[in-house]
């Protein structure tokens, strides 16, 4: 157990360190979420201050999801190009324990965009950040980040199996913004979309963050968010060995 925790912790630290070392990615990471935030603020500027705050919280979680969905695909593809994916698979550590810290590290980097979006909204649009339950807010944010990382892990498992699955990450970026209610309330969507939204942890994480900021009851949302995150991880752990075996049989671990 201690060994597993250490492997996860060291893996997370290693990948956070690596993700923060690219100045090019760093600049994109700074600029990109600010564009999301600006678009969201202009969309909601005509509404009440509450609507603007709603948008700013939504835009802040958009950055976390963007960092995980698109970056997870790109990172796995980079591992494949650089030949490190084969080394990670050839290591005796269970591959789930190798991959999970990679996607959680990406979600952690996305946390920056959350902070920068709120600061950007405050400085340029004068959005007052008022949080009713700070403790629950501070619990909801990391829980959402980790749950998004766990969803990223489930996606990453498929990226390992299929060489071109990295494009799936890009494909999922915008639909998840919509159907998880980051910018638009879920009540705006047809009924058939709801079950899909409910199956996605970011939906519940977003609700927990908003409820804790607005003084509602975030705990049920928070529990569902964490529960779904754990479910994704369990599914990922169960299928990863099967997917890896298929990847070894079909020779898709490297590009050469």
């Amino acid at each position: 157990m201690r060994r597993t925790a250490r492997l996860l912790g060291m893996g997370w630290l290693f990948h956070v360190k690596m993700l923060t070392r690219s100045s090019f990615n760093g600049v994109l990471g700074i600029v990109y979420p600010l564009f999301f935030a600006t678009v969201a603020f202009f969309m909601y500027r005509a509404g009440s201050p509450d609507a603007l705050f709603y948008a700013s919280l939504g835009a802040s979680v958009m950055g976390v999801w963007a960092a995980t969905s698109t970056a997870a695909g790109a990172a796995l593809q980079r591992e494949r190009w650089h030949g490190t994916l084969e080394l990670l698979v050839a290591a005796p550590a269970h591959f789930a324990l190798v991959l999970l810290p990679v996607t959680i590290a990406m979600a952690t980097i996305g946390l920056y965009s959350m902070v920068s979006t709120l600061v950007w909204g405050r400085l340029l649009f004068g959005i007052h950040i008022h949080v009713e339950h700070w403790l629950l807010f501070c619990l909801s944010v990391p829980a959402t980040v980790v749950a998004i990382g766990m969803l990223g892990f489930l996606l990453a498992v498929s990226f390992v199996r299929y060489r071109t699955a990295w494009a799936l990450g890009n494909l999922l970026e915008y639909p998840v913004w919509l159907i998880c209610g980051f910018l638009v309330p879920l009540t705006f969507f047809p009924d058939w979309v709801r079950p899909i939204s409910w199956a996605l942890a970011p939906t519940w994480g977003m609700q927990a963050i908003r409820q804790s900021a607005q003084g509602g009851t975030p705990i049920p949302d928070l529990l569902v968010c964490v529960g779904l995150g754990l479910l994704y991880t369990t599914i990922g752990v169960v299928v990863v060995d099967r997917f890896l075996r298929a990847a070894r049989a079909r020779a898709v671990l490297s590009l050469t």
């Binding site: 030949g83 290591a91 005796p92 075996r245 020779a251 490297s254």
Partner: protein, 323 residues
């Protein structure tokens, strides 16, 4: 039982071509490869590019599942007991890939030490020992992206030895490394067997194989065409003579005329700066020099020499025969 055993290994790759009418294509990269490497032996797998060396090694280190046949490392099956195999092997490949370039050598080694379950209390000592062994002590905090190819290669070796594996796979470890760096790497590789490790080395540098290997197998077009000690392989061409003809700007037609000449068993061309050196093999005692010079016509000729065959000539004869 040997430390490494391969029995009738076959590996087929499936690809497809076309956009609308996709057509499946099967390429057989390895066709029934069998060999055995004894405990503590340094065994070489020699062959030209695309011969199936890397595919064979990837099956042995559990990265590829054989299409048919079986293999084991230290008695563990590479498909059924992949986890047990992984704990006991180190894998080092050549070239620039396989490292996290944005981070330091120390970061890389610490991360892989975790993946290979090196106990935390031992990591510091083990990493320091390996940095010393590969001559990177003092440079470990620099980012890998600033390393030369030789330094990267040495870091690869340190990474592959972190968990002190009894069996080490080296896939073209000196490729692209400058002569001095390559010589140092060869010294490090030789030290591995002195430390009791079993090593499987793939290379297409004959002098390297001759220098390091206890035994070797030559692989061409996915099949083993010869196996034995360097002396055994040299014996294949012991009854031949090699004529070296230095030419400048020789054309394909002239080479073809030489190749078709009576008494010529094989011809290989080596590029040396501005010159192309033809290595012409023929049965010992055959006097061909004047005839070959005549066949080269107006080609500018430099030095001409007759010499005894080397391991490289044996390799050319074997690979050329099956190519």
């Amino acid at each position: 039982m040997g430390a490494i055993q391969a029995r009738d290994l076959v590996r087929t790759y499936k690809t497809s071509t076309g956009i609308f009418r996709r057509r499946g294509v099967e390429v057989q990269a390895v066709r029934g490869v069998s060999f055995e490497v004894a405990d503590g032996e340094l065994f070489g797998l020699l062959g030209p590019n695309g011969a199936g060396k890397t595919t064979t090694i990837k099956m042995l280190i559990t990265l590829l599942i054989p299409t048919s046949g079986s293999a084991s490392v230290l008695g563990y099956d590479v498909v059924k007991d992949a986890h047990e195999v992984r704990k006991r092997i180190g894998y080092v490949f050549g070239g620039d890939r396989g490292l996290y370039e944005r981070l330091s050598a120390l970061d890389n080694l610490r991360y892989f030490a975790e993946l290979y379950a090196v106990p935390p209390a031992e990591q510091k000592r083990r990493i320091a020992e390996l940095l010393d062994l590969v001559g990177l002590a003092g440079r470990e905090k620099e980012r890998v992206e600033g390393y030369s190819r030789g330094m990267r290669q040495r870091l690869h070796i340190a990474r592959g030895l972190l968990h002190d594996p009894p069996v080490v796979f080296l896939d073209e470890p000196t490729i692209g490394v400058d002569p001095v760096g390559a010589r140092e790497l060869r010294r490090t590789i030789a030290g591995l067997t002195e430390a009791g490790k079993t090593v499987l080395l793939t290379t297409h540098y004959m002098f390297e194989a001759d220098d390091l290997c206890d035994r070797m197998a030559v692989i061409a077009k996915g099949e083993i065409v010869a196996e034995g000690t360097p002396r055994d392989l040299k014996a294949i061409v012991a009854d031949r003579t090699v004529i070296e003809i230095e030419t400048f700007g020789v054309d394909e037609d002239a080479v073809e005329r030489v190749r078709q000449a009576d008494g010529v068993t094989s011809v290989s061309i080596e590029e040396r700066d501005q010159a192309q050196v033809l290595h012409v093999q023929s049965p010992a005692g055959t006097e061909l020099t004047q005839r070959l010079l005549a066949l080269l016509g107006t080609t500018r000729i430099g030095r001409v020499a007759v010499r005894e065959p080397t391991l490289e000539d044996a390799y050319v004869a074997l690979v050329g025969r099956d190519a």
